[in-house]
């Protein structure tokens, strides 16, 4: 097992944000953490990545990199400079393949702050992919992308998973999740309601031809 998180719980002022959530990811696997807004997906990632030190639970396995949603790091700098700088921190060069696959070439001279939501998201994805760690936790990697960009980003992530990288994606668009993830963790109101492949989830819901959305509604 490349990454295992067990019994992750987060409480804030008497409110339970996450309640004993566990998941695991194998090498080369794409695991989807899915659920509606407020389900606890981002909180789970923050807890696993250590940004909520008071969270309970245990995380073990390979080193990983967490890419939060909605960030615009160093917004006054140009995208190309930011990609180069971040790669240098890991003693590497810019991930040119990711830049090409995400169609970022024409954005490289632009300031991060001037990019649209989707453009900034693609730059952030390229940043995360330049971190040479075996596991990536990506929070809403397709949020803000149009359908062509989403397909391009999915193809790139699949390619990286096939090369042995483990990806854990938090996705609230269930059609996107069904299109890329091989296994799922269904979260609702801070609780894990089910986990497994789509076939396993369908079997558990008793609906053998249901979509992921229908499975989620049946199990919640």
């Amino acid at each position: 097992m490349t990454l295992r998180a067990e019994g992750i719980s987060v409480r804030r002022g008497g409110r339970v944000l996450l309640d004993d959530v566990s998941f695991a990811a194998n090498a080369g696997e794409i695991v989807g953490i899915i659920g509606p807004n407020g389900a606890g997906k981002t909180t789970l990632f923050e807890a696993v990545a250590g940004f909520l030190p008071d969270a309970a639970g245990k995380v073990e396995g390979a080193a990983f990199f967490y890419l939060p949603d909605g960030i615009r790091p160093w917004s006054e700098r140009r995208a190309g400079w930011v990609l180069d700088f971040f790669a240098r921190l890991f003693a590497r060069e810019r991930d040119h393949a990711a830049v090409a696959a995400l169609q970022l070439e024409h954005l490289l001279p632009q300031r991060i702050g001037s990019l649209s939501k989707g453009e900034a998201k693609r730059v952030a994805l390229a940043l995360a992919l330049s971190a040479p760690l075996p596991v990536l936790l990506l929070d809403e990697p397709f949020d803000g992308l149009d359908f062509r960009q989403t397909r391009g980003a999915m193809a790139l992530l699949r390619e990286r998973a096939n090369a042995g990288r483990t990806l854990v994606l938090s996705i609230h668009q269930l059609t996107d999740a069904a299109a890329i993830c091989s296994r799922f963790l269904l979260l609702d109101h801070g609780r894990a309601i089910a986990s497994g492949t789509l076939a396993e989830l369908r079997a558990r819901a008793g609906r053998c031809d249901a979509t992921l959305e229908e499975v989620f509604l049946a199990l919640e």
Partner: protein, 436 residues
């Protein structure tokens, strides 16, 4: 960490600093503010030197340190107090707000090295802020003025240490608090608090006066008097280091709460311990040796082995207390091996006091005791040396010639109020086109 990785961090922080509007505004203000102080100081200096037909002051009383350097560089003090904190806070707060910090905390570089990189960038920024001061110094020399290298460098060192401390306090506030606005309020509150402490602790003695010696403005004072205070240098450097450790504990949100709390506790304990480090190690680098007694008296006082106790029956607000502190006590602290000063009127105004002892200063050396009302250096020296059973040495006139200068600051206004701002705007525009 490889040096190339630190260079990457430093390059990022320098770009973030020098490319920011906040820093441009700081530089923009630095010129006219320094210029205004310089021009006003030069005019006053020329007037005191007898320009315009007025009566000239005694030449030996005209010192460029007091007359020109301190007021001109006083502009830097205003910058450091009111503008620099915002620039330093922005460097940390922007990364917190934009999510960049979340990425950096996962990079291989330690949090400490990331903060050090910010501090180095800020120190580079300080060198740019100093340019108007160097221009003022060059103009002064060009007008025929005199400067002593030692006291000039010493004063610049004092302001640099003050800048360093202010930056570190700002970094801690920005690391601890969520928004830049909250951090700015915290730093300004800290500054106001240190002013209040300075005011409250004056002439009180004891731990509170010792604490007040470490406020940023108090630490600058010896440097303004031409005193290279080793205590201030060490205290500022150690305080900056401790503040960085504290900031690292606050920034690194991935560290367990207990570890961060333990680190913060260690820093606070170390800071308190710093208060008990023996003080008063200093070197008088002023050209007129204003912080020292004549060498013969110094040698004589230093040979006294018994502890000297001084009881000063003066309220802190009394001008005589101020005179005595500046002209006598500062020098005694540097000359006598063991000195204890008591302030029986600490915290009292003495306005309604009927105590006959008010105004007296009592000296105790072993079993011997003497009493005086004088705050004049020579009289106090005679008193002390006689009390120690020694013969006061002969004292000559000061050899300091003084440096009157009747020049007017020609061209300075154009340089500081027009050329400098224009230069900053042009450089900023050129840089924003070229850098990414």
């Amino acid at each position: 960490m490889r040096s190339s990785e630190f260079r990457a961090l430093l390059s990022k922080d320098c770009r973030e600093l020098f490319g920011s509007t906040a820093f441009t505004l700081l530089l923009l203000v630095a010129g006219p503010l320094t210029g205004m102080s310089f021009i006003a100081a030069m005019r006053a200096y020329a007037e005191a030197s007898g320009a315009g037909g007025g009566a000239a002051a005694l030449a030996s009383a005209l010192s460029p340190l007091d007359g020109l350097l301190v007021p001109t560089l006083g502009a830097l003090d205003l910058l450091i107090t009111f503008l620099v904190p915002f620039v330093a806070i922005r460097l940390v707060s922007d990364e917190k707000r934009s999510g960049a910090l979340t990425l950096l905390l996962q990079a291989p570089q330690s949090v400490a090295s990331q903060l050090v990189s910010k501090l180095v960038a800020l120190l580079s920024g300080w060198l740019l802020c100093l340019i108007p001061a160097f221009v003022a110094i060059a103009l002064w020399l060009g007008y025929g003025g005199h400067l002593a290298i030692g006291e000039t460098a010493n004063l610049l060192l004092g302001h640099t240490l003050r800048y360093l401390l202010t930056c570190c306090v700002a970094i801690v506030a920005a690391s601890l608090l969520d928004s830049a606005a909250s951090a700015a309020i915290a730093v300004l509150s800290f500054t106001i608090g240190t002013w209040a402490l300075d005011f409250f602790a004056a002439g009180r003695g004891g731990w509170i006066e010792r604490l007040a010696r470490y406020t940023p403005s108090a630490m600058l004072r010896p440097f303004e008097r031409g005193l290279l205070s080793l205590d201030s240098v060490v205290a500022s450097s150690v305080a900056a280091l401790l503040l960085l450790v504290l900031a690292a504990a606050f920034v690194n949100v991935r560290a367990p709460f207990r570890a961060r709390a333990a680190r913060a506790t260690v820093v606070i304990v170390a800071a308190i311990a710093l208060l008990f480090v023996p003080t008063n190690r200093s070197a008088d680098v002023s050209e007129d040796r204003r912080n020292s007694f004549p060498p013969a008296d110094e040698a004589l006082l230093h040979s006294i082995e018994q502890p000297l106790t001084i009881r000063m029956y003066l309220a802190a607000e009394d001008p005589r207390a101020n005179d005595y502190e500046r002209n006598v006590l500062t020098k005694l602290r540097r000359s006598v091996r063991e000195l204890r000063v008591d302030y029986p009127y600490a915290g009292q105004s003495a306005l309604f006091e009927n105590d006959d002892r008010y105004g007296t200063i009592v000296y105790e050396l072993g079993a011997k005791k003497a009493e005086s009302r004088s705050t004049t250096e020579e009289i106090v020296l005679d008193e002390l040396e006689t009390l120690a059973g020694r013969t006061p040495p002969a004292r000559g006139e000061s050899s300091y010639p003084g440096y009157p200068l009747r020049a007017s600051p020609r061209g300075a206004a154009v340089l500081f109020h027009a050329v400098w701002p224009l230069l900053i705007v042009i450089v900023r525009r050129l840089c924003s086109r070229r850098t990414g």
